[in-house]
């Protein structure tokens, strides 16, 4: 293999695929990045067997070939090279990769590419097309609610449902549920649903910078995998087996009290409450109060108490429809939900101190978040 690439391209590619390298594996080749000439470009791939990332970069190819390069060594070296042409020259017999750039000359010991697990490639036929900006927002609004507890692997994933021209993402741990819907540009013939590890989606969101090109999603038959393609990057992930809980049942159908507040004001009040709540059990109380008189506003008082540090109360102006209520939430959960809402106002629907609360952006019915209360 003999290729020449630009340092900035190589650096970008290595940094993207490095996210999938498994640094502590019993298989040494998983700590390496596959480097292969591929149809006039240089292909870089890394995988930890759960998730894989492939990135193609522009290259001038003088000799075909492939090898796997230790990821740490390669990325540390490439990131310090000057912005110039980098010549990569592999001695196939010794698996020695010579890296030459400016005045730098390095030899890296590599492992034969045959040892590297095969990476599936996307088949754009029948792939679902998604809008980058919207898809990124969906991921951000949903993945934080996924569980980190390995005891229930299904909840560590995000349920992605495609039906006709609708796509829905849902994630839940034991205490909250986030659901985001979107419309597809193209119509899908066959509805399907997948449980994708939250981690893989987060990596995808990192790779997919805003732009006009769509994200393609394909599910190769019988492989229990999903592949995403954005521009010159492909992210492959194993799917999680199992059945996701029927979250539709969890979403309350009615409410007794509807509280409309400014999103920013409520986020700020939650952050303040969290300063005191984090010492204890993360409990914040929301006292939803109706207007006392004609001319007075209704309001929500958010308060937290800590044995150690003290206590605080913040009053946020609100429009309350229905009865007043005193309800307690894990303030971290509430804050995380509010922070992904883009609209200036938000609505909190509640029924009773022991019944779930629903957070919705005002004027946008594509997102909703269910959060379970706490008993104190």
């Amino acid at each position: 293999m003999k290729v020449t690439v630009l340092q900035e391209n190589l650096s970008r590619g290595v940094n993207i695929v490095s996210r999938a390298v498994s640094p502590r594996s019993t298989l040494p080749v998983l700590g390496n990045i596959l480097m292969a000439t591929d149809d006039g470009r240089l292909r870089l791939s890394a995988t930890n067997l759960e998730m894989g990332i492939t990135c193609w970069i522009a290259a001038r190819i003088e000799g075909e070939g492939s090898t796997t390069v230790p990821a740490r060594t390669l990325s540390d070296l490439v990131n310090t090279l000057p912005v110039d042409n980098v010549q990569l020259n592999l001695d196939a017999r010794t698996q020695n990769l010579n890296v030459r750039c400016g005045t730098t000359n390095a030899d890296i010991k590599c492992i034969d590419a045959q040892d590297f697990p095969p990476m599936p490639s996307i088949d754009l036929d029948g792939a679902v097309q998604l809008n980058v900006a919207e898809f990124k927002e969906m991921i951000q609004q949903v993945t934080f609610a996924a569980s980190t507890d390995e005891a229930r692997p299904v909840l560590m994933g995000v349920l992605l449902t495609v039906d006709k021209d609708n796509v829905t993402m849902a994630a839940a741990d034991g205490f909250r549920l986030s659901v985001r819907k979107a419309t597809l540009a193209t119509h899908t013939q066959r509805p399907f649903n997948l449980i994708i590890p939250a981690r893989a989606l987060n990596e995808l969101a990192r790779v997919a910078t805003e732009g006009e090109e769509p994200v393609y999603m394909a599910v190769p038959k019988g492989r229990n995998q999903v592949i995403f393609r954005y521009k010159d990057v492909e992210v492959t992930s194993q799917l999680i087996d199992g059945s996701f809980p029927d979250y539709q049942q969890i979403i309350p159908r009615s409410f007794k009290s509807r509280t409309l507040v400014s999103t920013a004001a409520l986020v700020k009040a939650c952050k303040q409450a969290e300063i005191f709540a984090r010492e204890g059990m993360n409990v914040a109380r929301l006292d939803i109060r109706q207007a006392k008189g004609e001319m007075q506003p209704s309001e929500v008082e958010i308060s937290a108490v800590s044995e150690e540090t003290g206590k605080n109360e913040t009053i946020v102006e609100a429009t309350v429809d229905g009865t007043g209520l005193l309800i307690a939430f894990n303030v971290k959960f509430l804050r995380e939900a509010l922070e992904v809402i883009r609209t200036p106002n938000v609505v909190l629907e509640t029924s009773a101190p022991n019944a779930p609360g629903v957070v919705k952006p005002v004027g946008d019915d594509s997102f909703l978040h269910v959060i379970m209360p706490m008993h104190v």
Binding site: G174, P356, M372, M374
Partner: protein, 586 residues
């Protein structure tokens, strides 16, 4: 296939299998018989790990010649007449199965003479076929000679472990009985070498060294506690002496060696937060309890027993052990072999202190030839005891900080080195535990209720304790006969699996512990560690150091951090004097 009644041969081999599973079981049954016969001296001989020969000779009451034949038939015993006596058993055996079982799987010869008998009588049984009683000469007592064990049960023979394993099992069994009956002279020979010989003078400590090795034996702490109808005595290891498994925890209930998991759990609980995770104490504990309080007739080999009031017994054991531990347990001593080079390999005391260097056969004589190499261990505990009854540390005068990691302080009995991180962890841990105890319970409602299926006994246990769980912050509803629906969990558990949390609680109920105490402590300890405590390498001002010391003095168990590592090391005045040659090494 037609149904047939098994032939007596087959039936007896099957039931022998329950009692006699390995050579050690033979030794156990025969030694217990000898003890029941009131022997003052017992001699045990084995060859080929007991496969070729097991001989147990005693000077007990013996078996009259006319009863010899009866003694090897099944369910023949002199120890029990009426069924109701089963609940007041004071002898070790009572089932009347041992001799018959052994006889059915070996070539057995039984020689016995009673006090009044003119001659002894001998009976041979070959694989269950009883021979004729012959007259012969022998001293008072009984000699049981078991040859070619399992010769007619090749399957059993095949499943025996290696010779050295079987020998070790027998060895530890004999040693434990020697420990339980210090007034009986016990001689144990393996392939014509005497490996254990006790004097029968009632001194348990000298036998202890045969069991644990001389060095460990001298460190073992005495336990003695009495309550109405119960008495516990024996030895437990100090915090500095641990094993990675529970195999060295032995319980004797009314002189019988039993393997009871709840009992050893009770003991391990006494060490809770004092030992590192995965380390277990050593113990030989003797529980005396009114015979009607236990049911020994649960297991053919009598390795398991039931207590009438298990909770009472377990908490008694735990309290007794904890008290002994806190009262005696000193700050870990700097062990002499590690301190300076003066204790070289040539020092005989040092060599003796290593159990692997001296075979068991010399062990019983060790107390005479080996004037307690680490007297400080015992003496210092005594002097500590005088100052404070429990684990409180003495008043310390701060000297300074070493390596930005350890505090140096002087106490009335020498020098103390204190690990600042471990000490601060202990202080914070106790503070958080107190806070947690006084704070209100908060519980987090689950998005979807979790259904939990339990076994029948666990379900009824949970049902009885639903109220207690409610106070802890669980909201649980019954959901069918042995199913429950968890609606909310305490906040401290909100990052984990709800059903796992409930299972942990049920296990706590089963083991009679304060529910979730250990789980909660574990979580709190984890939080303390997450950077709240001062780190090693952090320079502290004099004021901070003084404050740390005085806070540590106020702790309930200041000697260990919440993970069981020691917070301090003690160099006694005694040790310093020896190291500087002001006094002789011993």
């Amino acid at each position: 296939m037609t149904i047939r009644v098994l032939s007596p041969d087959v039936a007896s081999q099957i039931s022998a299998g329950e009692v006699i599973e390995r050579p050690a079981s033979v030794v156990k049954e025969l030694v217990e018989n000898a003890l029941d016969a009131g022997a003052r001296s017992i001699s045990i001989t084995i060859q080929d790990a007991g496969k070729r020969l097991i001989e147990v000779a005693d000077d007990g009451s013996g078996i009259p010649a006319e009863e010899l034949e009866l003694s090897v038939t099944r369910h023949a015993t002199s120890k029990l007449v009426e069924a109701h006596e089963l609940f007041q058993i004071t002898s070790l055996g009572f089932r009347g199965e041992a001799l018959a079982s052994i006889a059915s799987v070996s070539r057995l010869s039984l020689t016995s003479r009673v006090e009044q008998g003119k001659t002894a009588a001998r009976l041979k049984v070959d694989g269950g076929k009883t021979g004729k009683v012959e007259s012969t000469g022998a001293p008072r007592g009984t000699v049981v000679n078991v040859q070619d064990l399992f010769y007619n049960v090749p399957a059993r023979l095949k499943f025996l472990k290696s010779d050295s394993t079987e020998r070790r099992v027998i060895d530890s069994l004999v040693t434990r009985y020697a420990l339980a009956y210090p007034n009986v002279r016990i001689k144990f020979s393996v392939d014509s070498t005497v490996t254990l010989q006790t004097t029968g003078d009632g001194d348990r400590r000298s036998i202890l060294s045969a069991l644990y090795g001389a060095e460990s034996a001298t460190q073992m702490l005495d336990v003695l506690a009495e309550e109405t109808s119960m008495k516990l005595y024996g030895f437990i290891s100090p915090l500095s002496l641990t094993r990675s498994n529970r195999r060295d925890i032995a319980f004797f209930v009314n002189g019988r060696w039993i393997q009871d998991i709840p009992l050893s759990t009770a003991l391990v609980q006494a060490y809770h937060t004092l030992l590192m995770v995965g380390r277990y104490p050593l113990a030989s504990l003797f529980l005396e309890i009114a015979p009607e309080q236990v049911d020994v007739n649960v297991h053919p080999a009598k390795a398991e027993i039931r207590f009438r009031e298990p909770d009472k017994v377990f908490s008694f054991v735990q309290r007794a052990a904890r008290r002994a531990l806190l009262a005696y347990s000193p700050v870990p001593q700097v062990s002499q072999p590690n301190w300076g080079q003066t204790w070289s390999q040539t020092d005989p005391g040092w060599i003796l202190a290593h159990p692997e260097d001296h075979p068991l056969d010399r062990a019983p004589q060790v107390p005479n030839s080996y004037p307690a190499a680490s007297p400080s261990g015992v003496q210092v505990t005594g002097s500590n005891l005088a100052q404070s009854e429990f684990a409180q540390i003495p008043l310390l005068r701060l000297i300074g900080q070493v390596g930005a990691t350890y505090l140096v302080a002087e106490g009335p009995d020498g020098l103390y080195l204190i690990d600042q991180h471990a000490a601060h962890e202990r202080i914070l841990f106790e503070k958080i535990i107190d806070q947690h105890a006084s704070s209100k319970v908060a519980s987090q409602v689950l998005l979807a209720p979790v259904v939990l299926d339990l076994s029948g006994s666990q379900a009824s246990l949970l049902q009885e304790n639903l109220e207690v769980l409610g106070q802890l912050g669980f909201v649980i509803e019954e959901f069918g006969p042995a199913s429950f629906q968890i609606r909310a969990v305490p906040v401290i558990f909100n990052s984990s699996n709800a059903s796992a949390a409930i299972r942990a609680v049920v296990e706590d109920f089963e083991e009679d512990e304060t529910p979730l105490k250990s789980e909660i402590e574990l979580r709190l300890a984890g939080r303390v560690c997450k950077g709240m405590a001062v780190k090693a390498g952090q320079v502290l001002s004099i004021e901070e150091q003084k404050n740390l010391l005085s806070n540590l003095e106020a702790c309930r168990s200041p000697r260990t951090c919440p993970h069981g590592r020691p917070t301090m090391i003690h160099l006694s005045v005694d040790l310093l004097e020896k190291q500087f040659g002001r006094r002789g090494p011993r």
